[in-house]
Amino acid sequence: MSTVTHELRTPLTSIRAVSEILLDTPDVAPDEQRRFLAIIVKETERLTRLINQTLDMAKIESGNADWHTSELDVAEVVRDAVDATAQLFREKRVTLAVSAARPIPSVRADRDRLVQVLLNLLSNAVKFCAPGAGRVEVRIAPADGAVRVDVADNGPGIAPGDHETIFERFKRLGDTPEERPQGSGLGLAISRRIVEHFGGRLWVESDVGKGATFSFTLPLDAPAPTGDGEPARAAG
């Protein structure tokens, strides 16, 4: 809770300071005014994202999230997520390759939640890739009673000691201050809980200088997620 408070105070501080300056300073130059207003907009977005994700996390953890489980073709869901992030990849000139083994058995999961996980992994991958030289590969394959999805990047990599830390709330390793507004620090924590809800696992394999591969599995015959929202692994 104190971490959430800290994360909320930072954008609030910025918005308050900039607004008061605009109110109290009679002769702010027009381009300076625009710069300040842009800060207010950006920090408001950051605050909104943070509030939404904090509520989302609380909902999942308290078992009050709505899950709309259906039969899913993972490759098709991946395609949707890839389309949604295409612009990010184009802007940073990071290449994105998708490969899927055929045939892929379908899994039972919540489509929107699965898209949410994929968007998080893809946007993280592109964020840490070098502009112009980055490469991200998404692989979908059957694996031991499950469908496995890998999102592999050739970014700076993550030291083994940090592999679990990054799934903790508000633990950000590589974000520069310029990038920070994009990340609430909750994405991976939420993604892991979503995957676990459907009986799967989400983990990372990586080392410094060797890129990172985030992988998750969704079991083919997942036990029906319990109504009270407990992660399905608890039912196994």
């Binding site: 408070t5 105070r9 930072t10 609030l12 308050r16 008061e20 300073t25 300040f36």
Partner: protein, 124 residues
């Protein structure tokens, strides 16, 4: 001569208004984005006051505060600590380490300006 202020914070969205505010009040301003950069900046120039955030990369604000107070050559340098942590224990710790003032985020810009003016003895 205008007083010099060193702003130490790693959030550009907070540094921008702070810098504007201090310049508007007639101070000369320098910025450092982490604790180590703050100490480096202190070696280069001799500010009269440091606005010091607590949560900083590399070296946190408490450590920077302690280092400043341990160095006789920086005697007289005013330290205003700025933090998003509103807990009293944090404030106590900052003041024990020798900070002259402790302001929690979000702050009132008028209040901040008034406190800095008071610390610097009135004139800009």
């Amino acid at each position: 001569m205008a007083h010099r202020i060193l702003i130490v914070d790693d959030e550009p969205s907070i540094v921008v208004p702070l810098e504007f505010l201090m310049k508007r009040e007639g101070y000369e301003v320098e910025v450092a984005a982490d604790g180590q950069a703050a100490l480096d900046a202190l070696e280069r120039s001799a500010p009269d006051l440091v606005i010091l955030d607590v949560m900083l990369p590399r070296l946190n604000g408490f450590d920077v505060c302690r280092r400043i107070r341990d160095a006789p050559r920086w005697r007289g340098l005013k330290i205003l600590m700025l933090t998003a942590k509103g807990r009293d224990s944090e404030m106590q710790r900052g003041l024990e380490l020798g900070a002259d003032a402790y302001v929690t985020k979000p702050f009132s810009t008028r209040d901040l300006v008034a406190r800095i003016r008071a610390l610097l003895g009135g004139a800009a």
